[in-house]
Amino acid sequence: MTLEVVTFWGLAVLLIGSALAVVLTKNLFHSVLYLALSLTATAGVFLALDAEFLAAVQLLLYAGGVVTIVVFAIVVTERLVGDRITQTSRHILPGLVLAGALLLGVLRFLRGADLPVERPVIAVDVTRAIGQVLLTEFVLPFELLAVLLLVGLLGALYFARPEE
């Protein structure tokens, strides 16, 4: 039980800290590296919630795929050294007020809600159960997802194609 609490707080500090660094750091490239850290911490949260499969997917697709794509986009649109890679923020105070109001609203709702404290025991292997449900009950959305990915990537290729 104590191990769970320590894991949760460690992950929470890492996640919140890296997320803050993503939105506050001046260098866009550092921002992306902090995003990779926070995505990895999210994979840790998934592990703490007994979702090993999703943690692996998170690491492969998000921390691997998304970060690579974003780095490529930065390389194309900015120079990696020099002044251009620095980014600025505007309207920090109104943004802070908006985000704080959003957080307070959600937290007030959470305080009023009746949430379970103990997690129920899952008897089956979660990864096996995900695989079975994915290829039986949800096989149609699963195939549609494949089509969506294909169309999305083709569209991205079409947009970013070399100029004729």
């Binding site: 949760f8 929470a12 996640l15 997320a19 993503v22 939105v23 866009l28 921002s31 995003l35 995505l39 949260v45 998934f46 919630l49 979702a51 499969f53 999703l54 997917v57 998170q58 697709l61 998000y62 998304v66 794509i69 974003v70 490529f72 986009a73 194309v76 649109t77 980014q87 600025t88 309207h91 920090i92 908006l98 985000a99 704080g100 959003l102 957080l103 959600v106 959470l110 809600a113 949430l115 379970p116 404290v117 103990e118 997690r119 129920p120 025991v121 899952i122 159960a129 995900i130 449900v133 994915l134 949800f138 997802l145 969506l148 990915l149 999305g152 990537l153 569209g155 991205a156 970013a160």
Partner: protein, 99 residues
């Protein structure tokens, strides 16, 4: 840790991402904020699935993660296209749709 702790963590993460979206001037920076917000939603989905002992919520997350990847790929393609046309990725300067 109870469900409330995970939901609170996700709420804080969502608020940070939202702050990034409204304050960043660089379009890629805005996309990074959106990534953080989507991550918070995924944490919520997995936490609810775990505390209800129902694996279907995790299936939902397994769907949202690839959809997000497709979204980022398309978003960045649009950013690159915008950069070619306007030579800038600052959101304030992208006013092609202004009448």
């Amino acid at each position: 840790m109870g469900l409330g702790a995970y939901l609170t963590l996700a709420a804080v993460l969502f608020a940070i991402g939202f702050f990034g979206v409204v304050t960043r001037r660089n379009t890629i920076g805005i996309l990074l904020g959106i990534e953080l917000m989507l991550n918070a939603v995924n944490i919520n989905l997995v936490a609810f699935a775990r505390f209800n002992a129902d694996v279907v919520g995790m299936i939902f997350t397994a769907f949202t993660i690839p959809i997000t990847v497709a979204e980022v790929a398309l978003g960045l393609a649009i950013v690159i296209l915008m950069f070619r046309m306007k030579r800038t990725v600052i959101a304030d300067h992208l006013d092609l749709l202004r009448g």
